[in-house]
Symmetry: D2
Subunit: 101 residues, 4 copies
């Protein structure tokens, strides 16, 4: 089952700057081979459900290894059976609508 997902990982009980942890998580994602993209409020990724979820779990494991005592993560995950769809196609669909005026 293919999925388009997004997650935002929030370290708790650390300092106020989180960039170090977000970067560590990006490196974890890089190794998964999944397609992913950082944005201002999270990271989008797509792939087989289990691979996507394993990638997010790996980020939790990594951050705990870095000493983060508590993590709260928000995930959005979408699946569909009517047709296949990529993240790029979702964006393209909206842009096409916008061009209709």
């Amino acid at each position: 089952m293919n999925a388009i997902a997004e997650f935002t990982i929030i370290p708790i009980g650390t300092g106020v700057s989180l960039a170090e942890y977000v970067a560590a998580c990006q490196r974890v994602l890089e190794k998964t081979g999944l397609s992913y993209e950082l944005h201002a409020n999270g990271t989008n990724l797509e792939g087989e459900w289990d691979q996507v979820m394993h990638a997010i779990k790996s980020c939790h494991v990594k951050l705990h290894e870095m000493g983060v005592p508590r993590i709260s993560t928000i995930i959005k995950i979408g699946t569909r059976t009517d047709r296949e769809q990529t993240m790029a196609e979702k964006i393209a669909g909206v842009r096409a609508e916008l061009e209709k005026g």
Copy 2:
């Protein structure tokens, strides 16, 4: 890695009433043996990360089998290494603070 989670599963491309699908998902959870609790905006559950995520995936599978063409789910998942904590303890901790006045 133990986790406290919540998910809200939103069927897309069906009718406006979703109770039937939420109920089907509750039955899926019943079979998992995990501790879970329905509330007005989602379902809380706790357990081993992989079991929790497998339960949510099983809800997607079930709803697609029921004919739902597209599903969008929001998950919150928390892990901590400083101590073990249950959902009941989270609530109790806040209640204890409230009683301090």
Copy 3:
């Protein structure tokens, strides 16, 4: 426009225990007169859209006053025009489906 909502407020850059802040937020909600209910992963509330959003904003203001330097909040908010619905009715609808067996 009436809304059923949920929010989870996550203080960043503080200690690992958040119960103190969740309790402070409950006290803020108590003063709003809105119907609300704490659960293990957030707080449900219902009312006029603007009142709901003002209540959540007031929690941010309160926590910043308490010294929390950074806050990340997740809100779910639902509106519908087909009929009025309360949080209790959402739960009741699922329970009715479950009883159908």
Copy 4:
């Protein structure tokens, strides 16, 4: 109080394709004068808390006017008092960490 936010608006009880509604919402945002950016799983925006929330509410109003009977929206909203920060700076902070290697 300045905020960095993200929202994902999910029409319920309509067809399986949502691009039309996402596009309508982008047009609503265009009129607000706020800085916003569509991504594969939502839209990021930033500005004064009340303006951000009013923009999201305006999307609900617009979609209901288009005939959507029910809408479920997920919002992430962050505020901080330690320093000002833009969406671009959040991304830049992570990129700087990644370049450290």
